[in-house]
């Protein structure tokens, strides 16, 4: 079989500048990993140049999950476009909603009531834990620790139950809306979250007991994929990967949004920058998230959960039957949508993977003129070839896990 046909649709000619001369002479082997491969966490294709078991070059080929979200959002009104944001990073749906809503709120200068902000923080932090649980489970599974995966998904279900409780959906919630929330949380919410707060610390100890001092796990993660801080910065890496390389940067502290300045929490960091350090950082982040949820829940203020600005935010359902203005606003908002002033804004949140930003440009019409998602996975993914160089194929699997990519987030 000719190399050309084997590599289709990317021909050897196209990637000649990315592989070593030995590949062209046929001394090293070019091998496809994915797109259908259980440990590529979605549909990621890696073109590997292998010298025996060793990775010489690794060329990621992304785009298999490209759904044209940015183009589609341009064709919808601001409120309807939000529904697409859930589908980007499918492990951090609430966080995507939050980033989008912060951008719209910045553009329209909308104020969000304190109760809505506190509930947003609780949900986003719970989602962060859920996302880290999926990462931990699949990462351990890739390194052949099957049971951790089962435990993680058991606990994640508790968080998804809370999402279902507040919004009726486990994953694609669209619960956070421009100007506040869809509606207030039900009375059972507090008990459900308190149950999580009670259960989780012991469960995190359990994961530590399974992995942290496990010699097999340490062998597979220590000194694998070391990332130096200056390289991380040059590659625009954010989130737990940057923090595991010793740089304590967290948008929740640096540029607080949604009232994060009221809560006390630490930014966990490690110095080594290897896969094990990234594991420790994410494990500690789950504890810190629990701390934030605890504080937010303890001082959850009462009051409305939506801004009172009727030009942007639909009136409560109960007013429609008695107020003509409310009915007009409701009708206008759900047919034509609202028209923010002309201009462009950028709003960013700290997602479980790093800086998640939304660039929003408005031309004064009810539809966004341009939406760009600055997704953390897209940027973080670029260091994978760098990390993989010189490691074994088996370690590459650990590296994909440690970069914690979500392909929906990469391809958009």
């Amino acid at each position: 079989m000719g190399t050309e046909a084997f590599l289709s649709p990317v021909t050897l000619d196209e990637v000649k500048h990315l592989v070593s001369n030995r590949a062209i002479e046929g001394e090293t082997v070019l091998l496809n990993m994915g797109p259908q491969h259980p440990s590529t966490h979605g549909v990621l294709r890696l073109l590997l140049e292998l010298d025996g078991e060793q990775v010489v070059n690794c060329i990621p080929d992304v785009g298999f999950l490209h759904t044209g979200v940015e183009k589609n959002m341009e064709a919808k009104t601001y409120e309807k476009a939000e529904v697409m944001s859930d589908r980007l990073d499918y492990l951090n749906n609430v966080g995507n909603n939050l980033a989008y809503c912060l951008a719209v709120e910045k553009l329209c200068e909308l104020d969000v009531p304190p109760r809505a902000q506190a509930i947003r923080v609780i949900l986003v932090e719970l989602q962060r834990i859920a996302s880290h649980l999926v990462w931990l489970g699949t990462h351990a599974l890739d390194l052949a620790a099957m049971s951790v995966f089962l435990y993680c998904f058991r606990e994640r279900e508790m968080i998804l139950d809370v999402m279902e409780l507040v919004s009726g959906q486990r994953m694609m919630t669209t619960f956070i809306r421009p100007g506040g929330l869809w509606r207030d949380v039900p009375v059972e919410f507090e008990d459900a979250v308190r149950q999580i707060l009670k259960t989780f610390p012991a469960r995190i100890d359990e994961y530590h007991a399974l992995l942290t001092k496990n010699p097999l796990f340490i062998d597979r993660t220590r000194n694998i994929g070391i990332l130096k801080p200056e390289v991380a910065l040059n590659y625009g890496i954010t989130g737990p990967i940057l923090r595991a390389s010793g740089i304590a940067h967290d948008l929740r502290k640096a540029q607080p949004y949604s009232g994060y300045e009221q809560y006390e929490f630490d930014i966990p960091t490690q110095k080594e920058g290897d896969t094990y350090a990234r594991y420790l950082v994410r494990m500690e982040e789950m504890r810190q998230s629990l701390r934030i949820v605890q504080q937010a829940l303890d001082k959850l203020p009462l009051g409305p959960v939506r801004s009172n600005n009727r030009k942007y935010v639909p009136p409560p359902r109960s007013e429609l039957a008695v107020s003509m203005e409310a009915l007009i606003h409701h009708f206008k908002l759900w047919t034509e949508g609202f028209s923010p002033p002309k201009g462009s804004v950028y709003a960013a949140v700290e997602s479980p993977r790093g800086e998640l930003g939304v660039y929003l440009e408005s031309d004064g019409s009810p539809k966004p003129y341009r939406v760009h998602w600055r997704t953390p996975s897209f940027t973080n993914m670029q260091i994978l070839p760098l990390l993989a160089k010189g490691h074994l194929v088996a370690d590459l699997v650990a590296l994909i896990g440690t970069v914690d990519i979500v392909l929906g987030d990469v391809d958009r």
Partner: protein
Amino acid sequence: MNEHISKIVKAFQERFGASIYAFRGETSLIIPAEKIVAAAQALRDEFDFELLTEETAVDYWPQLTPRFHVVYRMRSLKHNAIIGMRVPLDGNAPTMSSIVSVYANANWFERELWDMFGIRFEGHPDLRRIVMPHDWEGHPLRKDYPLGHEEVQFSFNFDEINARKPYAKE
């Protein structure tokens, strides 16, 4: 606008002839295309903007001068600041210099811009399409590129339409 940002604005106005766009507390410098590499270098080395946060573009079609704005955003961890840069580009097949030599993660951003907007970056080490199939025609995020739709099939013309639908058959 904090002190650090106003210092940059002043320096860039003198050195690169930058004009300024400020909205909702964010500052962007509008910079001519030929000076972008020098401007990015100055931002990183002199003003400590270590991270290239995003690089994207906006299409203002049918307007042709400028048709595109390439939007950069840099973040400084040292000064806890964020600054934008906008580069106007004329015409339907614009070209500008790549900043991969300054910020390594511009690589994929610029590949995406080539893929989605058809903006060529000179000096880019690997300018291939990134998310669309490699043999795709057109640049989807341009404003003169249609959104597309699914052709509706009825029982009388089902096979005829099915024959030209772009999915793998057999």
